[in-house]
């Protein structure tokens, strides 16, 4: 992983990444007190300290995190090709396989960082502002966030493969967002078709929390693993054949 530190440094030194990191922390911190104020005003309890992190996670997993993934991936592949900076590392003694792998691992670490940021800030919000914050809730919230990394990573690898077909980051981003929206819509309209798409697993953590490990979740895990392997291989093949 000779190039992993390079990829991570490039990513976190962008202003947009820092802004998005801050937003990821601030959003749950603002939503928590707002919900508590409304609950106090109208006298009902929709969310408590235990369920709040899961509510935030369902929002993040459905829209916010896939959007950030699409931004990161399109910039890392199509964006660097567009700005002709990808070749800056390609002319060094670093194989294309190592470069591609380091980018994918970096996307994985970025995703995990975002998930942990949202998780910690929503747990803190739940503990400070909302009632009924329990240790079980804390463990459940933490494991739900960690479990969500896997299906999101499958989406990230798919988007990486697709970004390689575009010569500009804006085109890659637009296409990624449209594709993701189509996958989400298909999940509701045609559930049987949607099972083949990674967006079907947006509620992955719920399935694990509700059912634990069983034959269905195990089978689905294998499916997602093979999905990742397939698009990683296709992505690397496309990347290795690319000319600059």
């Amino acid at each position: 992983m000779l190039n992993l530190q390079n990829e991570w440094n490039k990513l976190v030194q962008k202003k947009s990444t820092i802004v998005l990191f801050c937003l990821s922390v601030i959003f749950p911190l603002l939503v928590g007190p707002a919900i508590q104020m409304m609950q106090n005003k109208f006298g009902f309890t929709a969310f408590d300290g235990e369920s709040f992190p899961l509510v935030i996670l369902s929002l993040a997993v459905s829209f916010y995190l896939p959007l950030l993934l699409a931004l990161c991936v399109s910039d890392m592949f199509a964006g660097e090709q567009e700005q002709k900076t990808l070749s800056f590392l390609l002319v060094r003694p670093l194989s294309r396989y190592k470069l591609f792998t380091s980018k994918i691992v970096c996307i994985g670490i970025y995703l995990l960082t975002l998930l942990l940021q949202v998780c910690l800030s929503s747990l803190i919000t739940g503990a400070i502002w909302l009632e009924n914050f329990t240790f079980t809730g804390l463990l459940m919230g933490l494991s739900a966030f960690l479990l969500s990394w896997f299906p999101l990573m499958a989406i990230g690898i798919l988007l990486s493969f697709l970004a390689l077909w575009f010569g500009s980051s804006s085109k890659a981003l637009t296409f990624s967002i449209l594709l993701y929206l189509v996958m989400v819509v298909l999940t509701y309209l045609f559930p049987t078709v949607a099972q083949w798409l990674p967006a079907y697993d947006n509620d992955w953590y719920q399935r694990w929390i509700n059912n634990g490990i069983n034959i269905v979740t195990f089978g689905r895990t294998l499916y997602l693993l093979s999905f990742c392997a397939l698009f990683f291989t296709l992505g690397y093949y496309k990347f290795s054949k690319k000319e600059f």
């Binding site: 190039n3 390079n6 030194q13 002709k84 800056f88 590392l89 390609l90 002319v91 003694p93």
Partner: protein, 247 residues
């Protein structure tokens, strides 16, 4: 063993441009000039040498390693400055070189400062690349090419955008590295004065083909690289005109 060897390298684009059946070799300690008019295929050839482009056929060998199959070994002691390869403009000059230096694990700590000093950029090392002029960027790319203490350096239009002082500094640096440290260079350019000053041997590339090759000690009395270049370019034109007439 030659430092660089090209055997029948062909790379053709859909628009008909590219290079055809290019064969030559560069020996240790040489400064080899690749000359040609704009659009002759110099950058395509340079990109093929560093595997940014994949040749349709032929072989490229650097220090005994095939570039396509043994890329990492081949590039281990190679420095490159390829036209069209850009640095990350949201990073500083130092940070860009730091990225590159991580890919050479045996490099010592002070090397980045040393190369920045060589190219006259030490005062700007903590400035972001986006604020740099074309000449300053070119100096940074030269620093990146020399960073790994290479024994072989590939330079594609290295003095583009440099002012007169920058060009002279660059020529002095190349001459010093070649004579004192035995670094081998391949230099692609269309500036004949640069070639006259620096190169021991040249090849002329026109319309994707090598139309002439000569070493400095093979030139006839009174002949210069410039006159050799002009003779070959004219001959090339005449041949093309005759071919068109016969058609």
């Amino acid at each position: 063993m030659p430092v660089l060897e090209l055997r029948n390298v062909t790379k053709q684009y859909k628009n008909g441009r590219g290079v055809k059946n290019i064969s030559f070799s560069v020996e240790h300690g040489e400064i080899f000039g690749l000359l040609g008019p704009n659009g002759a295929g110099k950058t395509t050839l340079m990109k093929c040498i560093v595997a940014l482009c994949r040749p349709d056929q032929g072989e490229i060998v650097i220090n005994g390693y095939h570039v396509m199959d043994q890329f990492e070994q081949a590039m281990q002691s190679v420095g490159t400055l390829i036209s069209g390869v850009e640095a990350f403009d949201y990073l500083t000059a130092y940070e860009n070189l730091l990225l590159a230096s991580r890919l050479y694990p045996s490099l010592e700590k002070g090397r980045i400062d040393e190369v920045l000093q060589w190219v006259g950029m030490e005062a700007h090392k903590h400035e972001k690349v986006k604020s740099f002029s074309t000449g300053m960027r070119q100096r940074l790319y030269l620093a990146a090419a020399l960073l790994s203490k290479p024994s072989f350096v590939i330079l594609d239009e290295p003095t583009n955008g440099l002012d007169i002082e920058g060009k002279l500094d660059f020529q002095e640096l190349i001459s010093r590295l070649a004579s004192e440290e035995g670094v081998t260079f391949i230099l692609s350019t269309h500036l004949i004065d640069e070639v006259e000053r620096l190169c021991n041997r040249i090849a002329i590339l026109s319309k994707g083909k090598i139309i002439g090759e000569v070493a400095k000690n093979q030139l006839a009395e009174g002949q210069t690289f410039e006159s050799f270049y002009m003779d070959n370019i004219r001959k090339g034109k005449e041949v093309n005109e005759n071919v068109e007439l016969t058609k």
